[in-house]
Amino acid sequence: MNSEKKKIKAPAFHVEKREGISFRKACAIRATAVVLSLIVCAIVIVLITGQNPLEVYGGIIDGAVGTSRRFWVTVRETVILLLIAVGLVPVFRMKFWNIGAEGQILMGATASAALMIYIKDSIPNFLLILIIMIGGMVVGMLWAFIPAFFKANYNTNETLFTLMMNYIAMQIVNCLIVIWENPVGSNTVGIINGATKAGWFPSIFGNAYALNIIITLVATVCISVYMKMDKHGYEIDVVGAGTRTALYAGINVKKVICRTMMLSGALCGLAGSVIVSGASHTISTSTAGGRGFTAIIVAWMSKFNPIAMLAISAFLSFMQQGAIQIASQFGLNENASDIITGILLFFLIGCEFFINYRMERTDRGDTEDKAS
């Protein structure tokens, strides 16, 4: 029709949402992602350090599970990360973007440290531990309630609010370090109750981290049941699907937001207690150590499935501990492992795109039109 018809440039591919994918195909895509990421990591290792990538991988494995002690440290880190991720499940199912776990952990940890410092061994240890756990939960809960209250009543942005609460928590800890400084002038709190071990989690069956594991397992089971079977869990899912539906179903959205966020804060606070009483026995601004953010990845990547959360927590802790090893063994700094973890996560999260969508060649339909 037009002699000077221009060349039509249409996009060669377009993206389409998959209706569903078989479990096997999804696994294959994920496995491909892991293999690809290990290859890319190897290239990066050779380029940056000139080391043999297989040796570096060996160092990571050695550092994470090479000795009994290293193995148990990896387990300790795994359960703490899992506990925080479990705590985040309810709020994220509600589509409440709580990135303030870091602050909630820190406040729980602070409460625990305060109780250890002020109560000392004046009461039986089991009672002190109980008080520490309750204290950590209550403080974490209150810390989480603040952004929830404002979200529910004034529709403030919870992402910014919870993020900023993290920095407030950090400054509170800074102030308290000045008060609790030990020894004077060190600008650290030091090991609390090092001699009496008051408020420290006791060894059970000769294992120092048994209580950590038990607390996490109990919390994981409770939250799974809560989300699956409890009326609250159902309400959380409905609110997450949209406030219009929740309103239609007669759910008090404000109440659900506050309640769920408080639950989440309590669990993060409890994680803070576990870190202080069950692992570090001290407090500093890095007590939470970014776990509050890492746990977000754990929760979302596992799509809130408890088994998957355990696996991903273990994987990330494994890489973390391996990093410490390769840092000393190969004279790299710990960022090397962050790079490796980053590449792995990039591929693992990126492959979700191919699980949810597929690429299709664009069909301009010329042939079909002529036929019809």
Partner: protein
Amino acid sequence: MSEEKAIELKGVTKYFGDTAANDHVDLALNKGEILAVLGENGSGKTTLMNMISGIYFPDKGHIYVHGNEVSIGSPKDAFNLGIGMVHQHFKLINVMSALENIVLGIDPPEGGFNLQKIRDEIIRLSEDYGFEIDPDKKIYNMSVSEKQTVEIIKVLYRGADILILDEPTAVLTPQESDKLFNVLRGMKEHGHSIIIITHKLNEVLDISDRVTVLRKGKNAGTALTKDMTVDLLTEMMVGEKITLDIERTSPVNPSKRMVVEDLTVMNGEGIPALKHVTFEARSGEILGVAGISGSGQKELLESIAGLAAPENGNIRFYSDKGEEKDRNDTSIAFVPEDRLGMGLVASMNVTDNVMLRSYNEGKGRFVERKKPFELAKKIIKALSVVIPDMSIRISSLSGGNVQKILLGREISQKPDVLLVAYPTRGLDINSSFTIYNELNEQKKNGVCVICVIEDLDVLLDISDRIIVLSGGRLSGTEDARSSNKERIGRLMTGLEAEK
């Protein structure tokens, strides 16, 4: 009239998932004319225009601008072709002035913009076409109509000669609409070609030269506006008459069940969407609600259901003995327009959806899923829902099956009042019949059914009485057995009320 075509579409098709939003649509806009694109909600008007303005890329088909085939991959491409779109939802930056918004997105010339020159040009443009605008006024200080003016000037300033306006009058008062239409006529005289999307019939007759009607994503016909009437347009819009083979029984002992008095309800933007509406609804009858979409139907149903607080007026409920009773003692079932976004949870399975309204009834902490599961099975059997597996998420069912579950759940609570909005929109004929039969069944059981249906033939066949809304006001109450489509159509457009 010049026969040269500004835009021509051939066989344009766009799919969203498995549903065709546009199915092989042909459309032509002549140079220097105003073309109205008319269609009900969901008929694919906006999708089609979005493909011309570069927001979507068609899956199939060809677009010609001034006779050349083009590929419009982005709004920038559209802009380079001289196509400008004024969207229904304005795309302006609130904290900036009109001038800044107009300049935004244009590559600055060397040495930056000469704002004074641009300001003069904007003022010249507005004088040419009869706009009123203060270029330095911030957007957040502007009324809706002023914002729209900014959008139009933005498009004109960039040199667009083809304008697309998506439901421009939806947010305007009648006076503002008249003003806009004068401006559009002025632009036409300056040689611009204009497409105006609307579902208001009187506007089509008022402003356009030609009209293309879309129905269910397809072109249902194009005609010269001067040959058209409200009735002809309505028929094109709603399609062939479907004869419903449903027996309409006479209401059995209808008694006053609900009285709505002087009801005024605001929409989400705080503008009154329902104005001083008064009517009575009776048990054992189907009360149809007619009206062009957006005339306050949604607000009416939501306020009856207790989801939207009335600004003014009240809703009273009555027992069979005629005594007034509390809303809380009245069982109100509601099948909302937005099935998956309000009535159901898209990501949940059928059982979890069936218990949405009743999950809190049982004692104890835990949700009781056994009874909802049985109820779900019962609904599936009674309304012949096709479902491959009880565990799949409800959004993967077809629209008809989704609606059957929703209606089934609402009916299962043995309502006194049953509200249904567009119960068969997007449904195939068999599912539609199942739904209509079920509504009739409820009527026989003495339920007061209030039903919003856009298809007037169906509405006339199934209702006992019909109330008509026009621009948020009640423009008439009709006996469905003696009224006809033409009468209702005129009431819908508000023409009848003026006579």
